[in-house]
């Protein structure tokens, strides 16, 4: 059997850690990188370095941004009494572009997924509780994905916020069960936000 060179193997190992990348795709990407011109390879390395150097987590909402607070938290025209809780930055982008929401956000950084080793302590839930304790927020809209893991996460977040007297609501079921907010149609999302139902408060 002909093996792969150690340096290719090492790069493929790094790619295989990425979401949705299996070992075969990782190997294909590693050979692709090898085939790049030195200039293109340098640009790739540079882009990775710049992302790590310039972007950070917003200290208020945990969004990824090059400023702290992020542009969303810094936008004075937004309703500061309403916070929409999402799993990932992509979900926040999807909801914002639906045009029917002008409040603030909180990015959990994922969902409770025991099978992937993701537990509440790995998510930005404490930071959300701290925000709510400060007292300016009146409504929390939980917009996790409508699937087993997203629902479990939503229920935990609602439970954790129950003592603080804020209204907690969840999206209306416009997004089909199991569906991903990120892929939902704009008007579906807008309807889900407008038709949200209160679960506590």
């Amino acid at each position: 059997m002909v093996g792969h060179p150690a340096s290719i193997e090492a790069l493929a190992t790094e790619f295989a850690k990425m979401p949705g990348i299996g070992s075969r795709t990782a190997m294909r990407l590693a050979y692709y990188v090898q085939s790049l011109t030195s200039e293109d390879a340098a640009r790739l390395v540079d882009a990775i370095r710049t992302v790590k150097a310039k972007s950070r987590q917003c200290s208020i909402c945990c969004n990824i941004s090059e400023t702290d607070p992020c542009p969303v938290c810094g936008d004075a025209s937004r309703d500061r009494t309403t916070v929409c809780v999402v799993e990932r930055v992509q979900d926040m982008t999807a909801i914002d572009s639906s045009g029917s929401y002008r409040g603030l956000y909180h990015v959990l950084g994922g969902r409770i997924a025991p099978l992937d080793g993701v537990y509440p302590e790995n998510l930005n839930i404490d930071a959300l509780v701290t925000r709510v304790k400060e007292g300016e927020i009146r409504e929390i809209i939980i917009a996790t994905n409508p699937d087993t893991e997203g629902d479990s996460t939503a229920n935990l977040v609602a439970d954790r916020l129950a003592p603080f007297g804020v209204t907690v609501s969840v999206l209306a079921r416009g997004v089909p069960a199991g569906g991903q907010l990120e892929h939902a149609a704009k008007n579906t999302l807008a309807g889900a936000i407008e038709g949200r139902r209160t679960v506590k408060g």
Binding site: P114, P146, T148, D151, S152, A177
Partner: protein, 248 residues
Amino acid sequence: MPYERTDAITIRYTDFSETSRIFTFYTRRFGRVSALAKGVKRKYSKMIGHVDLLSHSEIIFTSGLSRDRLHILTEANAYETFPNIRKQLPRFYAACHAAELVNNMTSLDDPSPELFDQLLDLLRRRDRNVGTAIALLAFEGQLLLLSGFMPQLSNCVSCGKKNRQKTVAFSPRLGGIVCSKCSTGEAELIHDLPADALSLFERLAQKKLTKLSRVKISPSVTHQTRAFLNRYETYILAKKLHTAKHLG
């Protein structure tokens, strides 16, 4: 290509591409099966809600001919989605642990309708919140039994002598408790296990306790049995399971 139809429980999923997902099911007719659901994450796909994690559904797939036996999922209809499991983390954690164990302890295309029914029964119990902690232990016992990993817990695995001590030593390598005589020189022993917790677990596995909701089990016995199972399962699977972390 032939179509196959079976009852299934979703025990794992991974994203395959921007729009597709690979689901792993434990099925009644075929045992563990992996199937690619093409386009399932697209905007108007209705399939994804029918094969949500831990759901019980009817699936239809075409059997793949590739080496890794990845089938193609063509249709799914959910029977039960167990919404109450999502309401409390301990229930969700227990159901995930059962799913991860089944995924790791069964082989592809090696059916056991009995194990399928046990898993379904566990999900239903967790959803209705009956016989909570004990239902998971009972399920694990039956899974160990059906997969040939059930350890010897009342007699010394080496000499066969019946244990009469309050605490015993256990050898993961030999797969059972060992008496003080046989334990000399045996490496990797788990010491000071409470004999009553082990024998309760053995009776659960052998289905000698049928009315699970009526079994009284103290939190400390549950805790000790849990700790023992976590170590034993880590040993036989040669890896730490993700879901062993927060089990009550």
